[in-house]
Symmetry: C2
Subunit: 373 residues, 2 copies
């Protein structure tokens, strides 16, 4: 007999042909939220506009008694209070964060989970203690290979009761080029509850699943972590039986601020004929963005947009601009980013069973009115 928890915690599944969003996906969409695309105008996203994805519940956390333990394969196990953490040398890093499931609801067939379209992104200034400093204090053993990060959010997923936990290879956790932070402030203020209050991991360049919120424990291990969120979830699989490649760094993406004004229900945009200034943001967690292109004709032809300088923030999105001369009629606007490793956004969505890393180009429907309308 299967345990009763399986009654309420089903296996992953793929939506059937023509199956629209059901009550469970709607319940997730009502709790979690994306960036309203007009908020791409802000260099740094105000907290309530930054995307949020919470696997279980936002924990009730008390910063005054919160502690992080650092243990496992280390010579000096640590217990760190928030006051102690805030007294250590800190760094502030501007980071564009994106959910690994962004784009999932645009896949056919659709993996059933949080149904993101394209908006699960945001950029913040995170302040905290470099993880490498905390790990150096604890002194990992010579055979240590990974650090496992455990949060306070507790739930069940596909039958597995768990505290949310993810690992990083020590080379990433302590690397000089990755700026991993144990972060306690967002845009200069204490973390809001939904962003991990009082402390979270920030892993610049990686999809959101790596940035463990409500961080309670760091355990160093001499074997790779095989927990649910590492070995079961967040793998790129075509068939259920595959081990699959792990989801890691953010694939390049560009999004445009939808021009003109929207229809409330269809979200189709309306513009008037003439010059329309298009703007947006582009990012990649794999390498610097080197070019952004814009199409105003259903991805048939592309023009190069003006890309703003990186501004010394290598982990943050970059602004771009382009001028479009709109003529009356229906148009579909798209934009695509390319990075220094040669990664470029595809026109057709890359499919996998988890619906991860779908960075297919955005499509924005626009009606340009006639001059007299």
């Amino acid at each position: 007999m299967s345990p009763p928890i399986d009654d309420v915690s089903a296996s992953a599944r793929i939506a059937g042909p023509g199956e629209d969003i059901g009550p469970e996906e709607l319940a997730l969409a009502a709790r979690n939220h994306g960036l309203p695309l007009e908020a791409l105008r802000y260099d740094v996203t105000p907290p309530g506009l930054h995307y949020v994805l919470t696997h279980y519940d936002i924990p009730a956390a008390d910063a005054s008694t919160w502690q992080i333990t650092v243990r496992g394969d280390v010579r000096r196990p640590l217990t760190v209070t928030m006051d102690e953490l805030r007294s250590m040398p800190s760094a502030t890093v501007r980071v564009t964060m994106e959910c690994a499931g962004n784009g999932r609801a645009r896949l056919t067939p659709r993996p059933v989970s949080q149904p993101w379209l394209v908006e699960a992104v945001g950029t913040a200034e995170w302040t905290g203690v470099p993880l490498r400093a905390l790990l150096a204090d604890a002194a990992p053993g010579p055979g240590a290979v990974e650090a496992i990060f455990t949060g306070a959010d507790h739930g069940v997923e596909r039958g597995v009761e768990q505290d949310y936990a993810r690992s990083l290879p020590l080379s990433v956790a302590t690397g000089r080029d990755s700026d991993v932070l144990v972060a306690y402030a967002m845009n200069g203020l204490p973390l809001p509850p939904q962003h991990g209050h009082p402390v979270r991991l920030v892993v610049p360049g990686w999809y959101g699943m790596a940035h463990v919120k409500w961080l309670r424990d760091i355990t160093v291990t001499d074997t790779p972590f095989t927990g649910f969120q590492q070995a079961e979830a967040y793998r790129l699989r075509q068939d259920p039986g595959e081990a699959g490649e792990p989801v890691t760094r953010i694939a390049p993406r560009s999004l445009l601020v939808p021009p003109g004004f929207p229809d409330f229900m269809s979200r189709t945009r309306v513009v008037r004929p003439g010059t329309v200034r298009l703007e947006g943001r582009a990012w990649s967690g794999r390498a610097p963005v080197t070019a952004v292109e814009v199409s105003t004709d259903h991805c048939r032809t592309w023009e190069t947009a003006d890309l703003a300088p990186g501004d010394g923030a290598p982990w943050a999105w970059r602004r771009w601009e382009h001028t479009w001369t709109a003529a009356p009629g229906h148009h579909v606007l798209s934009t695509r980013a390319r990075d220094a490793e040669g990664n470029v956004q595809p026109v057709d969505p890359p499919w996998n069973r988890g619906g991860f890393a779908n960075n297919a180009v955005q499509r924005v429907d626009v009606l340009c009115l006639r001059p007299a309308d």
Copy 2:
């Protein structure tokens, strides 16, 4: 020939039998968001957890050049800058705000619009200038009956291009018992963009559609306002041809913090046998909440919860608690509020074509494990 804007801006419609959430409703659900129900634990909702519903786009607003005009049937038309507004005597009021469409997606058949379940609510401390003071400065004429409030958000809805605008009867706008504010701060900080930066109306006790965001103009009139959001939208209608009653004050509602921990996908709750402390919030915009009841057996029997004092905040939700002894098996938890006018939440949803004011009781599915699980 119909204007081309009708191609992208359709009439209101009701979902067909068995029709799940489609791409347009999903696009709204991805932008707008509710209160994650565990956040009912906070007396005052942190801004990023407070529900947000934006009809069109969040405008790009510059507080340093923002002005509110007060005009129409007044003896002294005014133009007020943000500095001037902040120098006037202010008030701070704690207000529970709820979207008029809360509960819409739980209706059968479902009106197609923003698909809220039960979570479109939040409570904030709003600071601003009492509207009655601003109107007194402008001195409405003897025949004035309403004030129309226009925001900066521009869009099209059911074929009508518009700036979002709503009116209030002058008796409400200037009434001593309603504390209507022209608000520039939320929880002690400048309004976030999505909550109306730099200034909005706050109408305690009324559904959210009355709290006009990004407020630019107040026009006093000697005839009732017949704009789209007043005469077309936000009416309680059974048939499309009816004038319908206007949506005004918030019907009573109680929500509980879902106990235990959730399954990621189904959001079903899991608890262990024994004593489970239930807590939640209850509010009504019509009269003080006088009682909250809890059912743990599919609304068959009800027990009275402990209701906390009102705390001198008549427009804010009140906390309640109840102790439940959970036994292994499946349970459905519900709660209902009653107010001093005798309004009580119904078990079956009240239906209307707009899907407004559905305050039917919440239902929370809970699995209580066996002691050995």
